[in-house]
């Protein structure tokens, strides 16, 4: 258990679940949704597979009023439905939301089409992962149903990237994910859910405005800010750490805004990774694959880009891309706001320029960044939902044959994500030729002394970083033909 709220404010958590409003006056700040379901509520359909958000056996769906989300446009009849991992989701984050579990799927007419299709296609063997798959598929069913779309096999596989099955090999599950749309449609009746959410919309005691958050954090700088909890969750479930005082930022709607204004894209630090990556990929479609491969959909829905950047992991995949895009961080401490270039933000392993009581309020990308040619390459053992051994975000603009401007940013190559200053210097102002490429590749060895660990050896990291620079060079030579020649994904 973790510490109770220290500020004396009421912390009654109210959420919608199984047709009624659940009120929990004393729920500990770090009680996981999964433990609440299984241990406190004895609702055991939702399973624990790994307790770290990597297997999806605990997948539940969270419903929110769209006005409280980062992407208000995408709703299912007035409700935003997203799959999340219950094991690393803290209970207070459910406040004002609806929690759907596998027990919700079966209707008066029997199994939901997602469930029936899984039965008909032989999509379960041991069955332990199945409730999680059913929930992801249900979210897909509702979201596509509302949008009038149907996912193809590849889209389904992406949507299911956070659900591991060890028995089936996935083929029957992918079949079921398509076949479920052939059944007579069944739609969630969102009206009572929406009514309930409106009725419980008042504050839980957590900050609701940026100003309040800033004031609260400045007054208690020792507190831990928690957004999606996709990283902090593991401190609790795996390291068994007591987080002490926790300030949840999930009720601060202002923090979730993504907007374009005055020549810059401003991503609120509380916007989900999914929404933030969508905004980036909309402007640079070459980032789409990195978006797909950033964690799993449940993690991308729960986690925030602000959290990913502030956490400062050397293997987080947001920072390289943002650094290549000249991003600045908007920091706030009480009423004071300042901007720091991201490439000047990290000072050491998980250390940064944030002062006591100061937090990341927004990530700002200037429009000028989009003029460069940018590519993001992720190297990991598995395509989906794996942590990068090396992540390269490479951006260049040419003035004729010469390199006018270049950003070579690497994750996984040092204690922090950073630019390859020497290699950039080798290229700047020089012709974008095989000879300067080779010089830049060689310079990477002076920029980085990578780590040996379970993801990759230092030698491989350096070699692959050099080769990714070569791939980038190849892809910027001859248009699409070159791109096809360097991607296993273009091979039919």
């Amino acid at each position: 258990m973790s510490a109770p709220p220290s500020d004396g404010l009421s912390r009654e958590i109210r959420f919608f679940h199984r047709g009624e409003i659940v009120r929990l006056p004393d729920v500990p700040a770090t009680r996981s949704v999964l433990d609440w379901l299984r241990e406190d509520h004895r609702r055991t359909g939702t399973k624990e597979g790994c307790n770290e958000g990597d297997c999806g056996a605990c997948t539940v769906v969270v419903g929110e009023l769209p006005e409280h989300t980062d992407s208000p446009g995408q709703a299912v009849r007035g409700l935003r439905l997203r799959p999340v991992n219950a094991c690393i989701r803290f209970m207070p984050s459910l406040h004002g939301k609806a929690l759907f579990t596998v027990e919700d799927l079966r209707g008066p007419r029997g199994l939901h089409p997602a469930q029936q299709a899984l039965v008909d296609c032989h999509g379960s063997q041991c069955g332990f992962c199945t409730p999680g798959f059913a929930m992801t598929m249900w979210a897909s069913y509702e979201n596509h149903g509302a949008a009038g779309t149907r996912p193809d096999r590849a889209q389904l596989a992406d949507e299911l990237a956070g659900n591991l099955c060890r028995c089936t090999g996935y083929r029957p599950i992918l079949d079921a994910g398509q076949q479920m749309f052939d059944h007579a449609p069944v739609a969630l009746d969102t009206a009572p859910v929406i009514a309930a959410l409106r009725a419980i919309a008042d504050a839980s005691g957590a900050p609701r405005t940026l100003a309040e958050l800033a004031r609260r954090y400045a007054a208690s700088p020792q507190a831990r800010l928690v957004a999606g909890g996709t990283d902090v969750g593991l401190w609790v479930t795996k390291q068994l750490r007591d987080l002490g005082e926790v300030i949840s930022v999930t009720e601060v709607d202002e923090l979730k805004t993504i907007a374009h204004d005055a020549g810059e894209l401003r991503i609120g630090a509380g916007a989900s990774l999914e929404a933030a990556w969508a905004a980036l990929a909309q402007r640079a479609p070459s980032l789409t694959e990195a978006w797909r491969r950033f964690a799993s959909p449940p993690i991308r829905h729960a986690g925030t880009m602000g959290g990913n950047v502030a956490n400062g992991s050397p293997i987080g995949d947001s920072a390289p891309v943002l650094m290549a895009l000249d991003a600045q961080l908007e920091l706030r401490q009480g009423e004071r706001m300042r901007r720091v270039p991201l490439d000047d933000f990290y000072t050491g392993y998980q250390a940064n320029r944030l002062e006591a009581g100061e937090f990341v309020q927004a990530i700002v990308v200037p429009d000028t960044a989009w003029a460069r040619t940018i590519r993001a390459y992720k190297i990991s053992k598995r395509f989906d939902s794996d942590i990068s051994a090396v992540f390269a975000a490479l951006a260049i603009s040419l003035d004729g044959e010469r390199v006018a401007d270049v950003r070579l940013v690497f994750g996984g190559m040092a204690a922090v994500v950073r630019r390859a200053a020497t290699a950039e210097a080798v290229l700047r102002g020089q012709p974008w030729s095989a000879a300067t490429l080779a010089a830049a590749q060689a310079a990477l060895a002076r920029d980085f002394t990578p780590l040996d660990d379970m993801r990759a050896s230092a030698a491989y990291r350096l070699r692959v970083a050099q080769n990714l620079l070569q791939r980038f060079w190849l892809e910027t030579q001859g248009g699409t033909a070159a791109s096809e020649a360097t991607s296993i994904w273009s091979v039919a």
């Binding site: 299984r38 041991c126 059913a134 060890r166 068994l240 190849l474 360097t486 039919a492």
Partner: protein, 783 residues
């Protein structure tokens, strides 16, 4: 591109019970979240929770421990260590070298040293996590790899040798005299089972020294024996039940024992129900998995690529104790031949003792590790001779009536390799795609395609003769409903579905009349593990025998009552036809009951004809062989080592399928699981501390939906078992895992293409991007 639905889902012999593609008996429960796993059983009042304090060192002597400190922590009710175990401190399935709790020597990082029992699971975990603070340890030098242990002569069991001489001087002479020779080495990594449901036991004390255990296990009888020994009781005191597992894959064959024992000891000490459910990371750190193997070999062959002599040393990483390493090595040695006639062989199997988790059963049980090295060797031979690897494989296939005896002396009498290969080569378009890949590679400098065909021949039966037995119990109730219980355990493979189909078939009733129940040591005694793919073979036969006994009694009664002879009574379509009378099945049952006919029966089965001499490593260990083959095609990025499976075609032999949907599910699942083993699933132990650093799904990567190939054609080969197996079907659990060799060898082919197929790629498994890029760099450097 689309996934192609499996063919042959409706074989011609489909009847009321067997041969139909029924859904898994629990499918409707799985999807609704209402299938009960151990942790879902409503907890009894007073239930306590256990957690294990783990060794922080790979090797050391335990000087002392301050358990009082742990006992004082919040919520802690009890703490105990090895000295507190009332019976034997051992959970070894064969040898008694496997302490439940460390007995003075610490043997690997993660070895359980003490157990904490607390009011909540959280309290127990938090207290157990303080192990490092309370253990006083004298560190000793660890030995972490199998090669290092082999160099020191450190083994968990004596070496096992398998040799056959057809020429004087045997393999060595045959190699020396051969027109061509190759020598090489190969490293193949292990594999974590990654059952989605982790290890769990829930122990409930019962009267008169009794102990009831709900245990996620493939081997309830073994859990019963181990717990009885640990508690100093008899088997009849201990009752083990398992309705289903959330996956097993071999990981819950022997290794559920430690947790069953700890939960039972804790329940015994506290007099309260105790649940021990492992956190995933602890599960990785405590339990063993598929053995890593190292190989050194020398092979002699002729101009056609036919192997004349093969000499090989196989070294497995057994870990700190024997567990099942001996039988795993035996099976590995018995599968080095895979589908091939190897006239002269000399195989030496060493089970190396290391300061790592004790490795154990995993789907295939050494068979994959034995066969893969030969597939790699044949690939190398083909490259040396500049022949297509398919042709070299076919030149080496077992013959029919000649060249047909395995190195361990068992004749191969059911060989279907040629027709199966012909069919798959045709349906997959192998030859044309081989040419297309070559053409592609000629114009593509950075991306290379690779293609491979690999066959499987897999021996079915436990290598230990006495394990090949099973029992079942069939109850027909007065209302005509039927309950079947058997010694097999359900872990997702669909054994209960198949057994229920068999019973429905024998009694001619609707499938829905039959319900299968939890495996229970109080119903069937002395069961074998559900392992070695034999579950449906053994238990299906036992259940059939029980059902036949009941059918005979019902037929006798029907003939007595309605006239005619029992042999003419027909049970079909949920009815019974006797002379001109047709009765609904329940009507006959009620009448028989009222006439005092016994409506329940046991059934027993022992596989016939098996012989095995473990000293000579000779005999007939297998009842029959299962066959299959696969063609896989990949694209490899020579800049990064990334790769992608473009297409896989599988043709597999399950005899006459009891349930084609379930069998196809096993084949596809095994293929993807085998592919994971050979590609993304890498186990990394820290070279200094010995900590398994890949101890969670964040670092240990099993395949995801995107790894299932966009074109995946899986078909059943039309065949029937030549042996009298249950309805002439064949076992399916393990053999198709070996089909994934085709993926590894396709990657090898693509790597080889990076240097014009002139250099043999030094590719290890798993073929991670790093391993692939290293192999590419190596072939380019040597070219």
């Amino acid at each position: 591109m689309t996934a192609t639905a499996p063919r042959h889902l409706e074989p011609p012999h489909a009847s009321a019970g067997v041969g139909t593609p029924r859904p898994h008996e629990s499918a409707h429960l799985h999807v609704a979240g209402t299938a009960t796993y151990i942790d879902d059983i409503p907890e009894l009042a007073g239930t306590l929770h256990a957690a294990l304090g783990l060794s922080p060192v790979a090797h050391g002597r335990l000087r002392s421990m301050d358990l009082a400190k742990i006992r004082a922590l919040p919520g802690v009710v009890d703490v105990f260590c090895a000295a507190d175990i009332p019976g034997h401190n051992d959970c070894g399935p064969i040898l008694h070298d496997d302490p439940i709790l460390a007995d003075g020597e610490l043997r690997h990082v993660g070895q359980p040293v003490f157990a904490v029992v607390a009011r909540t699971r959280g309290d127990a975990r938090r207290a157990a996590a303080r192990a490092r603070e309370v253990l006083d340890i004298e560190p000793l030098e660890p030995v972490l790899t199998q090669r290092e242990a082999h160099a020191r002569g450190q083994y968990v069991i004596p070496a096992i040798h398998l040799a056959r001489d057809t020429v004087e001087g045997g393999a060595r002479a045959a190699i020396a005299a051969a027109p061509h020779r190759l020598a090489g080495a190969l490293e193949v990594g292990g594999q974590e089972q990654f059952y989605l449901e982790g290890q769990i036991s829930y122990a409930v004390p019962a009267e008169d020294d009794g102990m009831k255990l709900h245990c996620s296990t493939q081997h309830p009888s073994e859990m019963q024996h181990l717990v009885a020994h640990a508690l100093g009781l008899k088997s009849h005191h201990v009752h083990v039940e398992c309705r289903r597992m959330g996956g097993g894959f071999g990981g819950k064959e022997s290794q559920s024992g430690l947790f069953a024992c700890v939960a039972a000891i804790a329940a015994r000490r506290t007099g309260r129900p105790v649940k021990l459910r492992l956190d995933r990371d602890d599960d990785f750190l405590i339990t063993g998995r598929r053995h890593c193997f190292s190989y050194d070999y020398e092979v002699g062959f002729d101009d056609a690529g036919r192997v004349l002599g093969l000499a090989m040393t196989l070294i497995s990483r057994a870990g700190h104790s024997a567990d099942l390493s001996g039988p795993v090595m035996t099976r590995a040695l018995c599968h080095v031949d895979n589908a091939y006639w190897l006239p002269d062989v000399e195989l030496h199997g060493f089970s190396a003792k290391t300061n790592t988790q004790s490795n154990t059963a995993f789907r295939g049980f050494g068979g994959p590790q034995g066969a893969i090295v030969t597939e790699v060797i044949l690939d190398s031979i083909a490259r040396r001779l500049q022949l297509d690897a398919l042709d070299v494989r076919r030149a080496n296939y077992y013959g029919i009536g000649e060249r047909d005896t395995t190195p361990y002396g068992q004749p191969v009498r059911d060989n279907i390799l040629d027709p199966l290969t012909d069919a798959l080569v045709a349906s997959s378009g192998y030859r044309a795609r081989r040419e297309a890949a070559a053409a592609f590679n000629a114009r593509s400098p950075w991306i290379k395609r690779g293609l491979a065909f690999t066959p499987v021949k897999f021996g079915i039966s436990f290598n230990v003769r006495h394990l090949n037995q099973a029992g079942a119990l069939v109850h027909v109730y007065v209302d005509g409903s039927i309950l079947v219980n058997h010694g097999g355990t359900e872990m997702g493979q669909g054994i209960n579905t198949k057994v229920a189909q068999v019973v429905a078939h024998e009694l001619g009733v609707a499938y829905g009349r039959v319900r299968a129940t939890a495996t229970d040591t109080q119903k069937i005694a002395n069961t074998s593990a559900t392992a070695a793919s034999t579950g449906a073979d053994l238990n299906g036969k036992a259940a059939q025998a029980a059902a036949l006994t009941i059918r005979k009694r019902l037929a006798d009664f029907a003939a007595r009552t309605f006239g005619g002879v029992a042999a003419d009574v027909v049970f079909e379509n949920d009815t019974v036809r006797v002379q001109d009378t047709v009765l609904p099945f329940p009507d006959l049952v009620r009448r028989a009951y009222e006439d005092r006919v016994q409506l329940w029966s046991d059934g027993f089965y022992a596989t016939p004809g098996l012989r095995w001499d473990p000293k000579a490593t000779k005999g007939r260990p297998f009842y029959y062989f299962s066959y299959g083959a696969a063609v896989s095609e990949v694209a490899v990025d020579t800049l990064t080592g990334e790769w992608r499976l473009l297409r896989a075609d599988v043709l597999h032999d399950v005899g006459r399928s009891l349930n084609p949907a379930i069998d196809v599910g096993q084949i596809e699942g095994a293929f993807i699981q085998g592919m994971g083993w050979l590609t993304t699933e890498e186990l990394v132990w820290h070279p200094k501390t010995g900590l398994l650093t890949t101890h969670a799904p964040s670092t240990y990567k099993i395949p995801t939906a995107n790894d299932c190939p966009p074109v995946f054609n899986v078909a059943l080969f039309d065949n029937e078992n030549v042996e009298d197996s249950i309805h002439r079907s064949k076992a399916v659990g393990e053999p198709p895992l070996l089909l994934a060799f085709s993926v590894f060898l396709a990657i090898r082919d693509a790597v080889s293409a990076a240097a014009g197929h002139r250099i043999d790629p030094p590719l290890r498994a798993p073929a991670t991007p790093e391993a692939i890029l290293a192999a590419i760099d190596a072939v380019r450097a040597r070219d």
